[in-house]
Amino acid sequence: MRVSVLARLALVAASFLPALASAQPGEYQVKAVFLFNFGQFVEWPSDSYDTPQAPFVICVVGEDPFGKTLDDVVRGEAIGSRTLVVRRFSDADGISRCNILFVGRNDAGMLDEALAAARGHSVLTVTDVDGAESNGAIIVLYNDRQRIRMRINIAAAKANHLVISSKLLRPAEVVGTEGS
């Protein structure tokens, strides 16, 4: 008798499941969405693309913490008329063609090499290595308890010829302003 009641409950629960969302998203789901959003709140110089049809490129250097999440986020999306693609690099060679470059804290050893290769090119460098803004990273997504926080190094953005929207600057902690 007990078994049949359980079975009926399972059946009822199953028919409701598609509408359910899980309790908490993973850290890298949210960070993937951040990367996608940065494409809309940062202006790249027009000469950063080879052709008018060239895609908008998000690169992950070193060990990839996103799995397929980042690909899922950008699938079918566009920045203006440009399609979005994700590329993965095991080292810093050739990353100057990236629009956004991400280095995860699980492979923090790649950070300095990647930042050096991106310096002076119009590449938005993003990492979740806490404190990396002082190494010259432009956006640092760091964890504050259960939430993600943003620190933006405005001088590093300028050096890479990028203009960051106030919509992104306002909720962020901004470092590297004139005189600081």
């Binding site: 079975a7 060990e63 913490p65």
Partner: protein
């Protein structure tokens, strides 16, 4: 259609529909996140993967971690109950106040070969070698994680980390701002309440204070004339301040007092009357710990930690007090880019007093024992995928003298998904006060000749050489397979022997009975964990462990230590499911232990039957601040026993509790 046929059909339907109808949940969630503004995204609470967890995936040891989420969803109301989730650990509850927690064999309520640390403070007692689990009380909501290493951890943590190490870590006061209140009622856990308040002072010091009280009903035993009810109150605090870049400080402390009922006296001698009537241990204690940590460069830091711990146990059979002072310095540094070196030194004083209740004495009654130790460990990254960890602890203790406990471990991670590891280690279990200093007349004190159980200062440490290997496979984000194998060779195990007779002051012949290192043995086994998260809201884990034990003694082995080979189930299996449906949580845990062949303490040589158990928890987040949970324990039978002699073990009954938790930041 008969009822049975209908049941089968709907179960099958349910099983098919469940995966099909949920295939889009992951992308639905991403779509939802993409609709959020930047400000809203910054407000989303996430579950994160810590550096620690990444390291654990590549660790060259059989390590399992219980997260705060695991603890919460287990429905455990005590730490030993929570440890039931760990694959390969044998957790056996003897009665309301006594648990045996053992890894890789030698199951006993002393758990003498398992080292347990609470925020790095050792809670392994040198009196009887083991952990008094009844006074290890936690506000589980503020426990960050419990790491369990099966196998030796002595190269880092020192003696008694023979078959395993349990590291309990509470949350930083930075992470426990706000108020938390919990209250529960049930038929075994009759009543409990816990509260915490946390915040930050104007000076940037994070703090929390908490209080807890529980009242647990006794277990059933028709032979007992005493009840094993338990009550305990606990106050504590923790402060964290400073910064990761400059210097960070932690200070924390606890104080507790309680009454622990017993079904039978802790020490019984055949033919001699022990304490009568209701047997209750009055327990109390406290501790204060301070830690200072300063980075000394990139990936290097220096840490100094000191604590004082006091325990008092006023038992009908004895009165024991223990003061422990411990100072530990550790330095972690990276050198030549490939080496991560950790070294440290520590000193510990245990000042113990054990006053006899009549049946036995510990001589001398007061004893100050020192432990000095140093360790060094070097983790060498030979290549991107191969790391070797070599290290040793060297210590000098007042029980067995110098001990050297080295280990070498190798981990090969050809790609982030696969880790293959091997290790060889040596570890020792040092003698205890009882083994060194006890004096019990084991026959009628007026008899001649007289058998007397005596401590033996020549009794040395029990020794282990362990060979381990393991394979960890992160097949996908949602599937983890973790397998560990071990072969343990033990030598110099305790064996109770007859010594050389002598004449006492009254001219009587005394035949001494004392511990000698005449035992040896071998254990072999495997532990398997499979974690599967088919959906963001559904997690399943399955565990299985098997062990074979052979123990023998070249002497008389009067106390039947070789019978310890019978006290661990040869097979243990567990299955756990955690489902989150909007505001509801459904958690189920099933476990099966094969029979216990015989118990060392039971002269008759009798064992205990196999048993299976099912716990189910339902959680409902009524409002963002309020959670209600209902737990059903031991649902498969009216009652079962898990461990202990007929006089000391209680039957664990089917039980339920209801709990409300309120938190406000």
């Amino acid at each position: 259609m008969s009822r049975h046929a209908w049941t089968a059909t709907s179960l099958v339907l349910g099983a098919i529909m469940l995966p099909m109808s949920t295939a889009f949940a992951h992308s639905d969630q991403l779509a939802e996140l993409k609709r959020l503004s930047v400000d809203e995204l910054l407000d989303v609470e996430v579950t994160s993967v810590s550096r620690r967890e990444e390291d654990l995936r590549k660790a060259a040891a059989a390590i399992a971690v219980l997260t705060s989420e695991d603890l919460r969803r287990s429905g455990a109301t005590s730490m030993p109950e929570a440890l039931r989730l760990v694959p390969g650990l044998h957790v056996a509850q003897e009665n309301s106040t006594t648990w045996g927690v053992s890894a890789r064999g030698f199951s006993s309520v002393n758990s003498e070969k398992l080292l347990v640390l609470s925020d790095t403070r050792s809670i392994y007692t040198p009196l009887f070698s083991g952990v008094a689990w009844d006074v290890q009380d936690y506000l589980l909501a503020d426990v960050e994680r419990v790491e369990v290493i099966r196998g030796p951890g002595a190269a880092l943590w020192g003696s008694n980390a023979v078959n395993g190490v349990v590291n309990i870590t509470t949350r930083s006061a930075r992470d426990t701002h706000g108020d938390y209140l919990e209250a529960g009622v049930g038929d075994v856990d009759r009543f409990w309440v816990g509260a915490r308040h946390g915040g930050e002072t104007a000076g940037g010091r994070h703090f929390r204070v908490f209080a807890r009280y529980f009242d647990r009903d006794g277990t059933e035993n028709p032979l007992a004339t005493s009840e094993d009810e338990a009550r305990l109150g606990h106050l504590g605090f923790r402060m964290d301040w400073g910064s990761a870049e400059a210097a960070g400080w932690t200070m924390q402390g606890d104080a507790y007092a309680g009454d622990m009922g017993q079904l039978a006296p802790v020490v019984e001698v055949l033919g001699r009357p022990g304490p009568q009537g209701q047997l209750t241990s009055k327990v109390s204690g406290g501790n204060l710990l301070a830690r200072w940590r300063r980075p000394t460069g990139v990936d290097s830091d220096l840490q100094v930690r000191a604590y004082y711990d006091y325990t008092r146990r006023d038992d009908p059979s004895f009165l024991d007090t223990l003061h422990t002072f411990d100072v530990d310095v550790q330095h972690r540094l990276t050198a030549l880019s490939r080496h991560e070196i950790v070294w440290g030194v520590s000193g510990r004083l245990t000042a113990n007093s054990n006053q006899s209740g009549g049946l036995f004495v510990v001589e001398p009654q007061n004893s100050d024992d020192y432990l000095w130790s140093g360790f060094v460990q070097d983790q060498i990254a030979l290549s991107d995928s191969l790391a070797i960890t070599a290290g040793t602890k060297v210590e000098r203790n007042d029980f067995s003298g110098f001990e050297v406990q080295p280990s070498i471990r190798a981990a090969w991670t050809p790609d982030p998904g696969h880790t293959l590891w091997m290790a060889v280690s040596r570890a020792v279990r040092v003698p205890t006060r009882f083994e060194r200093d006890v004096n019990i007349d084991a026959s009628d004190p007026a008899a001649d000749p007289l058998f007397r159980l005596l401590g033996n200062r020549d009794f040395g440490a029990e020794k282990l050489i362990a060979y381990e290997a393991g394979y960890r496979w992160q097949a996908s984000r949602g599937l983890l397979v973790d397998l560990a194998l071990f072969n343990n060779d033990y030598d110099a195990l305790a064996s109770l022997e007859v010594g050389t007779p002598f004449l006492d002051g009254a001219g009587r012949t005394v035949i001494p009975v004392l511990n000698q290192n005449l035992g040896s043995g071998r254990t072999r086994g495997a532990e398997l964990l499979v974690e599967w998260q088919p959906r963001d809201y559904w997690r399943v884990s399955a565990t299985y462990s098997a062990i074979d034990l052979r123990l023998e003694s070249s002497g008389l082995d009067l106390n039947r230590n070789a019978w310890l080979e019978g006290s661990t189930p040869r097979g243990m299996a567990g299955l756990r499911s955690s489902l989150t449906l909007r505001n509801f949580e459904v958690d189920a845990q099933f476990r099966h232990h094969t029979r216990i062949r015989r118990l060392m303490q039971d002269v008759s040589g009798a064992g205990l039957d196999a048993y299976s158990s099912l716990d189910v928890r339902l959680g409902w987040r009524a409002t963002p601040d309020l959670q209600i949970s209902l737990m059903g324990q031991n649902l498969l039978d009216d009652e079962h026993v898990e461990f202990g002699t007929p006089a000391a073990r209680g039957a664990l009954a089917r039980a339920a509790w209801l709990k409300a938790e309120w938190r406000h930041e």
